[in-house]
Symmetry: D2
């Protein structure tokens, strides 16, 4: 399987993990290791105001792991730029998952503020991976503004609903010149496999692993699903047809 390249950095795994909602930091660490993931997102708030006795960051100190601080919680471009700068200082990385959602219920991303923040942050040298609606035109504009990848949603975040934006994701994948990482809503390994079969470059999963009966085992399932989907994409799926081809061997033999 070929490697994933984002901003000149190479990854063997095409599965990104979020670190929210786990029962404990140890459970989170186990799941990350089981997933084979090489990039995990970290909400700034969790880093700054750690209420647990353990620091989350100590659980993410693995040489193969790239930390991707995210701005989750900010509501506009100004807050995002401020948060990004804090994150760069705190985590000593210019990689950034840009997430701006003014909507407290569905946590849907704001296209206008996301583009504005991207334009500013690109000038400040950030490597930006924006979380956005599955909007093909917005993806192209973000690409023009200098994002390292685009992260369109599959369905509303945290819902496990799967690829409800499929028809739009297909267009994004077809048109994008930067990696497309399907983010949000992926609820089962079959969703992740499907996203990869469609040609997505990677997927990000959080809730589906964190709230599973056995998070570490579910992380392993996602690892295999992402591999499977990528291999299937490379091997090229057969066409969907209305009925079986006539070349089938399934013809009568007793009456010959």
């Amino acid at each position: 399987m070929d490697q994933l390249i984002i901003a000149d950095k190479k990854f063997n795994s095409r599965l990104l993990l979020g670190t929210g909602k786990f029962g404990s930091n140890a459970e989170m660490e186990d799941a990350i290791l089981a997933s084979g993931s090489e990039m995990v997102t970290v909400a700034l708030k969790r880093v700054d105001l750690e209420t647990d006795t353990e620091q989350i960051i100590t659980h993410l100190q693995h040489p193969h792991l790239t930390l991707l601080p995210n701005t989750s919680g900010v509501r506009n471009a100004k807050e995002a730029v401020f948060a990004a700068q804090l994150a760069r200082e705190a985590l000593e990385t210019n990689w950034l998952k840009l997430e701006i959602h003014p909507d407290p219920k569905y946590l849907m991303p704001d296209p206008i503020e996301t583009l504005k923040a991207t334009e500013e942050l690109a000038k400040l040298g950030f490597i930006i991976l924006p979380y956005i609606h599955a909007d093909p035109v917005l993806c192209k504009r973000l690409e023009d503004a200098g994002t390292a990848a685009v992260m369109p949603l599959g369905s509303p975040i945290g819902t496990n609903k799967g690829l409800k934006a499929e028809v739009f994701l297909e267009i994004i994948i077809e048109q994008s010149r930067v990696p497309v990482i399907i983010d949000a809503g992926i609820g089962a390994p079959s969703d992740a496999a499907k996203a990869m079969e469609m040609g997505a470059d990677a997927v990000l999963v959080n809730t589906a692993i964190a709230v599973a009966g056995d998070p570490s085992k579910m992380a392993e399932a996602f690892k295999l699903a992402v591999l499977s989907g990528r291999i299937a994409y490379e091997a090229k799926l057969g066409k969907i047809s209305k009925f079986a081809a006539a070349s089938s061997p399934l013809t009568a033999f007793l009456n010959e």
Copy 2:
């Protein structure tokens, strides 16, 4: 991962393969080996009247492989019983995939003849795996008649349409006391993963692998997908919800 048990025989793999439609017998053999499958179906016609210079059976002589002769091509119970007996003699096995489809276009199975043939073949000592519509009541009746498993379809055979009978397969899986093997229509690894996540005991794939751009590679993708789906089933998927839970860390931090 726990083993699949059919009629007291244990299998490590939960992926069955069909042997039709491959470009060559060598290509078929490569795909079977790449898939990790331990049970493959063989159409009787292909065995009897081999037009290729190579015999298909020589390509299936691997110690880990159980051959499952199928009666594909017969149109009623009488033909099926006759074909089954021929198969038992030719392949020296009492395992049998029972397939009766009078319809030459969609190859949909006949519920009446399938039950009738099952009743007769069970008396004759066959281990019967019937290919049937995703009909919950029929599955129970076949179980009562002594089938070793049931093989309901996902969608019409050879179409790659996936799990179009999902709502009925769920009921079958819930009610069955014998293994449920989803057969026909599975078109992509994500379909196979989904079937396993739903709790199916195994899946059978043929067209999706045989007509892929690279059949052997696609077989590997299916191997991983079936593993992934089974592990996810064991790890228990999280619930699907309307919006993200309030326990999410995704709340404002700058305004605190």
Copy 3:
């Protein structure tokens, strides 16, 4: 719009109604009249053992209404034939909705018993409309056995899940020489419209109307939906495409 013809009887309406689950007999009658339906099913039990002070039958005494007694509650062919004969005597009609479901949870129909009962009842002069799984081969066999129509399900009865058997219903509609009436699972007018657009000859609705906030108003909505779907079928839907045709007027004008 052309008329629906079942066993030489002509109907202007292509919407059949069930009479179960209504809040009261008056509410049921209002809904039936609002729906424009000309054929309603009546469960035998409700007729025999009327616990309400009002008799249900008195609410169905409208000259435009054909009563279709159904055998709901029977579990095999023998019980069905007995119930059918009781119904013929009680309601003075040889029309019969044949419903055999041994499964008390999902009320899924039994294909074997339904065919057996059909064969017997056809000899006894009944005009039979069997409720069955969306099984294309079974439909052909029932047709051969002399049914006046076939009534495949959309999804499990009483669930409002809609057309979950769509791919199989398409095949049934394509192959049937008797009217196809989609029964069970239709949960919204859009489901009914869709069934008619696909070429179904009629639909039967019960739960979706009976449990609606306003059953009579919902009945009117279904009336319009069935009309709409039939007209659309006759007017022929355009094709589904991947993107807009180039013949679109949607091209730039300012830069010309």
Copy 4:
């Protein structure tokens, strides 16, 4: 059925029509009249550079019809504002369908330019109905910028794919304080009925009618479907369940 109110104007019909792609202006006029629509969109280009001998506008001179000029063909806010002013002058109306799509293949709308143009056009006194992606946050921002309604897409324009953005449309409908008109992709009356059942205030249809076998008849089908869906919305649909409620009369009677 209650009336649709957009910017203080009342409409009895909740079906808007587009005027592109018809075989002739007479065919278009027939379809509009059959649809009962009271508002139709007119592409500016078609008005200015009429190559047909007949003027399209003469076919739209009906007292019950509100013309809604659209800016289809413009690629950014600046072009849109210019086009809007031309339209206001030419058609003597300040109503405007704002459509900005830089993408020549899928004609997907640009969220950034659409918001920018809306802000400018609102100041210029236009009554703006913007065509946009099914993006809940964008809808709220357009509402704040003074749109009279929002027109999110169901699926890519001209494809007849139906409501592929369903999960996002639900959120938009829940959150919007201005009328929500589902635009683009509606391919069949059942799609229109479904949109209305979900609580959309209106739908806009063009391709599905214009390319139907009989456009005028298909327009009538859409008229009925929109009515049906709205009535069903008002009558409140029953819930979707996993199996039939125990209150069903469908219980055994012969064994009592």
